[in-house]
Symmetry: C2
Subunit: 292 residues, 2 copies
């Protein structure tokens, strides 16, 4: 870790070294009939760490989804700590997908939890803007310490438009959020020209992507929804800048559960194969944009 280096610069360096815009989402599903959450005979932490190790060469960052650890109680949280330590020890950038946000002093405690040096400390965290600027400020303050944020702007789910797309005096609510993200990030633009205050824009809404880039020229966009949620590689990189940077694309189930559609391959091997393929697919989509 280089704590004095901007998060945005660290992320871009990882993207260049790995030639990758791919983020490995760590979403260990809960067991349901016919859909095993964690394969039998392996611990939660080991299942996750083996997949991280197998995919490390092909991904710019990993993104543990807090919900799947919290749902498993204290044992799940202990596994999360192992996953974070393993990945950071391995030199990987870790984004806590926590979607937190609360009033000032409480947001400060969440910022300490996910951007501090404690058990759950990561390189970046996803945050929910519904409570406005003073809820975001304690997270933004941590950006000075080489940490990053991804603010929910336009999410990938079917009902994301219900409130995000409401027309607020001539523009959708998400555009108002995007404008504020641009402001919060303007003090934290790294040598790469991108800000350590980024945004979540679902890959499932490519039509909003160009507009999002205009509203937030320096934001790194974290794009969920590639693969399992139906977005194509070309949709997923729709917010990329002309140089191919400025977007990272998450894939969770398509990597962690690649073994389900790869008979004969163990989970890590299946994930590795899928990660390499997805990296190439995203790189091709970026090249074809640049050649347009």
């Amino acid at each position: 870790m280089l704590p004095d280096m901007d998060f945005a610069d660290r992320l871009v360096r990882a993207q260049r070294e790995k030639r990758s815009s791919l983020v490995l989402g760590i979403d260990p599903q809960l067991d349901r009939p016919g859909a095993p959450g964690v394969p039998a005979g392996v611990s939660l932490a080991r299942f996750c760490c083996e997949i991280i190790e197998a995919c490390a060469e092909f991904v710019a960052a990993i993104k543990p989804q807090l919900a799947f650890f919290e749902a498993r109680g204290l044992e799940g949280m202990a596994a999360l700590v192992e996953v974070i330590r393993f990945a950071r020890g391995r030199g990987l950038i870790v984004i806590a997908d926590a979607k937190r946000g609360d009033i000032g002093s409480t947001s400060a405690a969440y910022a300490e939890a996910f951007l501090g040096d404690g058990d759950f400390g990561c390189d970046a965290v996803t945050v929910n803007p519904y409570l406005g600027s003073d809820a975001m400020a304690p997270f933004v303050a941590r950006v000075r310490n080489g940490r990053g944020l991804f603010v929910l702007v336009k999410t990938s789910n079917p009902s994301s438009g219900e409130f995000q797309d409401l027309n607020a005096t001539g523009r959708p609510v998400w555009e108002a959020v995007a404008g504020r993200v641009n402001g919060w990030g303007s003090d934290f633009i790294g040598q790469c020209g991108l800000s350590s205050v980024g945004a979540v824009i679902g890959a499932t809404y490519p039509e909003q992507a160009a507009r999002a880039r205009t509203l937030m020229p320096a934001a790194i966009v974290l794009a969920p929804g590639f693969g399992a949620q139906g977005a194509s590689a070309s949709d997923a990189v729709a917010t990329a800048r002309a140089d191919g940077l400025g977007v990272i694309v998450n894939a969770s189930r398509g990597l962690m559960y690649a073994f389900a559609s790869s008979p004969g391959l163990a989970p890590p091997a299946a994930a590795r194969q899928a990660a390499e393929a997805m990296r190439e697919e995203l790189n091709r989509a970026l090249s074809s944009r640049q050649n347009r």
Copy 2:
């Protein structure tokens, strides 16, 4: 516990038994110079549980704020589990102040975490609506099991209007959220006439309270902001129905840190004294509304 009883009915029963609209917020602050988070010589869990025991007679529910436990890592989460078990074992209703919300399958995992039977399972949870209905659905589904929700509608913090008050085709965004809360809750109205799908309306915005009650006639309103954030008792109960029900009022620092302004009293004794006084103050405010 009566698992087959509606959450709303259980809460109203507790309010009647205790003659109280007060909720004890468990917000163990982080240590800062001059403002101790947890008094020296006592564990986090013990500090919280002693205050819960001391206030139990005067409060309708307790509301642990997840951030302050997460900020303390695994040790904090273990303390949270102790707090939840102690309070539920003591027959108290426990509301997890988690403000979660994510896309479908992830929200389902959060709902399992906070409304399931695991380590962090509580009676109700606060949720953030920014992602829309499909993010709320897994939580709403748990309401059938005697659990409750409080959806953020109009929050108590100074910048809450930044997005919540944006004018969306003739009405503020928070009113659109309130309308949906009313819809989500309409299938879950208990014998008390109130729904187990409630709403968070900051006590600091009493002018919006009457409008909120019109938009959500059956919602139980959780009102934060009383005391430390500046709202009066009369502001705090502004959403109450004519019978005095339909609102619960949170106080956190004013109870847990009452000892700081009560020389000679230990934290539990100071909290107990403050809880009784707050209960009476809220009851007086409710009476003077009914007599208007």
